[in-house]
Structure formats: C-alpha cells, structure tokens
C-alpha cells in the first residue's frame, strides 16, 4: 500500500509505544499515534489526557483534549490539579508524547513565541500548556515534529520545555527526574540522543528518504549515525486502522 509521510510518522510513533503501560497524550499527532497503538499492539495501553481522563478509550480521535468521550470511557476521571499533582508530577507515567513549533539539537522545545522579542513576537504561539511538566516528569519523552529548517533550529526563540538542556548532566542539575526525550519522530525519519553527548542523531530514515535530505531540512549540522536504519514499511493493517481512525474522526 502507498502511504503519506504523515502516515509513516504516526505509525512509527505508535510502534514506539510497545511495552509501555501509561502514556500522557497531547492532542494532534500524539493522540492519533497513541490511539492507533491501542488498536494495534497495545490494547492495554493507558491513555492519560491532561483534562483528567485516566485510561480513556475513545472510539474516534478526540478533536480537543477534553472531548466528552474521554471521560465517558475512562477508568477514572479526576480534576485538573489532581492529574498534574498526583499523576504526572511523581513520575508514575512511562511516556509523554509532545510536539512543538521548534526543537533544538538537545530536544528542547518551543511552543511559546517565534521572534526575538517575547513581548512583541512575530508569531504568538499557544504557549506552554502541560508541556514543561510532561517533559520534566514523564519517565521518557517521545517527540513528534515535522522536520524542516523552520522547526529544527540552531537556537530556540523561547525554551518552553526542557529536553536535554545544554547537554549531558543538565537534566540532573536542573532536578528534572525523567529521562527526557528518547526519540524524535519526524516525517523523514527518527532521531535519538547520542548516549554520550545527548545530541539528536539521525538513526533511521523512512523508506525512500536520503539521510542528506534530513540534513538539509535541519537548521544545525545534523549528526548522522554510522548505521542508519530504514523504518519498516507500514503494514496494510497499520494503514487501514489509521485511515479508519482518521476517517471516523472527521468533523
């Protein structure tokens, strides 16, 4: 079957959830990937939405983080202060899924402003939401960001959420208790932090993508692993379930 770049990105993200118990889900691609994973290999995956739904099992993709079906299908519904204080903050949640307008080579994220002047930005983005604490407290973080020179930047205009800070040891120094980003899934491939330097390194490309293309779409000199793997093709089952999910969710 043929597929779009966004589809393989979502499928790769869903696959990355194998073996996880609980996942803190942001809206958009992370939610699509997490719900796809539940339909594929991870039927018991616990989806946690910051609106207070723990163990939500939506039949279609919620358009917002607080759609009614999340509460109706959840194992437990709690208040927003409780979801952050009792569930996210202590580090109970295996994996947090985040996206961003900008990401840098250490997996730090910007969702706040584009432009040099915070008070008078050229683009005002939505802001932090739950991201800073998801990035800080989940045991691991997976990022999903479309790869381009505009989004993969040398220097963030604003650090909204901390990945690996300025490099090795920085998370520990800041008192951030989760591991930080372990994987960045893009429409071109997958980047992982180098175990020594924490710098994001291209470790696989999606079928048909040249590592040099990924480098050209990155705003810093992208490190490329000695062995670059190729993402296995999306299976027919993966694509069918994904398309069904997206179709059922159209407004």
């Amino acid at each position: 079957m043929n597929w779009e770049a966004e589809e393989i990105m979502t499928v790769a993200a869903a696959r990355a959830l194998a073996g996880r118990v609980a996942c803190f889900v942001g809206i958009g691609l992370p939610s699509t990937a997490a719900n796809l994973a539940r339909r594929l290999h991870a039927p018991e995956l616990v989806l946690i939405y910051e609106s207070g739904a723990i163990g939500a099992k939506p039949s279609k993709l919620p358009l917002s983080i607080g759609d009614g079906e999340l509460a109706e299908t959840a194992d437990a519904v709690v208040s927003v202060p409780e979801i952050f204080n009792y569930w996210l903050q202590p580090g109970r949640i295996d994996v947090g899924f985040l996206s961003a307008a900008q990401v840098d080579r250490f997996g730090n994220l910007n969702t706040t402003v584009i432009g040099d002047d915070y008070r008078r930005p050229s683009v005002r983005l939505p802001g932090a939401g739950g991201a800073p604490e998801i990035a800080a407290s989940c045991r691991e973080v997976i990022l999903i960001v479309r790869q381009s020179r505009r989004s993969f930047v040398e220097r963030l205009d604003f650090v909204t959420s901390v990945g690996h800070g300025s490099g090795p040891g920085d998370r520990a120094r800041l008192g951030l208790r989760g591991k930080g980003p372990v994987m960045v899934i893009t429409d071109l491939g997958v980047l992982e932090p180098d175990p020594q330097t924490c710098e994001l390194t291209l470790t696989s490309v999606h079928p048909g993508v040249d590592p040099e293309t990924a480098r050209r779409q990155t705003g810093w000199p992208l490190a490329i692993a000695a062995q670059v793997a190729v993402t296995p093709q999306p299976t027919a089952q993966e694509l069918e379930l994904l398309r069904d999910l997206v179709k059922r969710s159209e407004v």
Partner: protein, 267 residues
C-alpha cells in the same frame, strides 16, 4: 446562599471594570454565554485568567474587554491559533494586552492555593524554561526537611469566577459532572462567583464523577440553557466541533470579526 438571577443581572452585579475574572472550563462546560454577556455589557480593563483561553476569550479580547491575560495555553483546541489573541499580542489590536504566562501545572496549583487559603503553592515545574525569565509570578522555595529547591507559584484569587454547570437545585446547590477541570478550585478561590446552569431541578440525584458546590459558597446562579455552546455539557449536548473550525475563519480577519461582533452580540 446563592441567589437566583438572570444572566444580565448577574454579570452586572458581579463583574466590574478592572476586575480579575476567571471564566473556567477545561474544554468541557465553558461559560460562553456569560462571556458574551460581559462583551454586551462592554466591561473594560479586565484581567482575564484561565488555564486554556479559547474562543470565548478570543472574542472578549477582540471586543476590547481585556487589559491583561493570565494563562497557560491559548489556542483553538484541535484547530490552531486564536487570531484575536495573536492580533492583540502581536499588533496591540484593539488594545495592548499584557500577558502573564504559566504552565498548566502552575495555573492549577495557583487556583489550588487560592482555594486553600494559602499564599502560594509548591510544585516541580518551570525549571530550565524561559518562563522563569519572563514571568514575574514565579519563585523558588527550599524544602526545610531535605534542602531541595522547588518552584513556588502565588495563589490566584480572582475577584470573580464564572463557570457553567449542568444543573442546580432551588437552594442554589450546583452539580456538574464529566471532566470537571479546575472549576471547583476557581470558585473556591474567587471572592465571588456566578454559575450558569442548563436547568434547575427539584433534586440533585447522584451522578458518577459529580462535583457538588454547595449553595453557601456560590454568589449567584443563572439559568442559561445551552450556555456552554459551542463547547459541550455532558448529558445535554455535544461539542460543536464545526463551530471551532468556523471560528478560525471568522476571527482571522479584523473586519469579519467586527461584523460578527455586531451581528451576534450587538457590540
């Protein structure tokens, strides 16, 4: 004890120019009708607080009600930007908008401290982010037992909280269920509060995941069926997702927006 009022009467009595106002609702039960009434009554210089300002705050900002915004995430959920919010921040239209920016965890804890009668709350948050450099209402506090340094946020105690709930009884006890967001905390933190409800019932029979706010902590209740549209009221109506998409087109352009404002709210 809560007084039963009309919506216009309730807004006139409770919301004054210059107030800090929280219209809370985390996607669910957003008090949209109350926000529109604030626009109709041409309130000015408000400090609008909310975890997730969405289209009703976009409308209030575009209508010129707000001087300041305290928030964590300002977007059109599932759709994209809030264009009126952006126009205010990027271009001072229709007026400059000061912003005080937090994370969800920080805002939730600010309300929690406010509801608890404490001047501040402690959390693990913000560390290493640029919010620390730009948001003055952040500090650190040292654990007196372990020496660990944590983040402190000040209590948020709005002058007025406005929420929408499914129903109330004749005494003014309010019940809401489904995703309950931070509404209990906002009401308990505020100096006064207005609750719009879908209906008044004789008896608040038990509902799963229900939050009951007793009459004696509520200032006024107004019956406003459909008062949360285009958001949803679980058990009453669904989210009008199409409207959120339509808002993107209406709000993108100043003239379309001012036309909408005149047509819909006579403002």
């Amino acid at each position: 004890m809560a007084e039963l009022v009309g919506l216009a009467e309730g807004i006139a009595a409770l919301v004054h120019d210059g107030d800090t106002v929280s219209l809370e609702g985390f996607t669910h039960l957003i008090p949209v009708a109350a926000g529109h009434e604030i626009i109709r009554q041409r309130r000015r210089d408000l400090t609008l607080a909310r975890m997730t300002p969405d289209i009703v705050y976009d409308q209030m900002i575009g209508a010129g009600c707000a001087r300041r915004l305290i928030f964590a995430w300002g977007g059109n959920p599932g759709v994209g930007s809030l264009h009126r919010l952006r126009d205010a921040v990027e271009n001072d239209w229709p007026a400059p908008l000061e912003i005080e920016e937090h994370s969800h965890a920080g805002m939730a804890n600010r309300y929690t401290a406010g509801a608890s009668g404490l001047p501040f709350a402690v959390l693990r948050g913000y560390t290493g982010t640029d919010l620390v450099r730009h948001t003055s209402s952040l500090a650190t506090v040292t654990c007196p037992f372990t020496g660990e340094v944590l983040t402190a946020v000040p209590a948020l105690n709005p002058d007025v909280a406005v929420i929408h709930a499914q129903r109330a009884d004749r005494k003014g006890n309010v019940q809401l269920w489904g995703l309950a967001g931070v509404q209990k905390e906002a009401v308990l933190a505020a100096k006064r509060c207005l609750v719009t409800v879908e209906e008044i019932v004789e008896e608040l029979d038990a509902r799963p995941n229900a939050v009951v706010l007793p009459s004696w902590v509520i200032t006024a209740v107004a019956v406003v069926p459909g008062g949360a549209k285009p958001s949803y009221a679980q058990g009453y109506y669904d989210r009008d997702n199409l409207y959120y998409r339509r808002w993107d087109a209406i709000s993108r352009d100043r003239d379309t927006f001012t036309g909408w404002l005149a047509d819909e709210l006579g403002s």
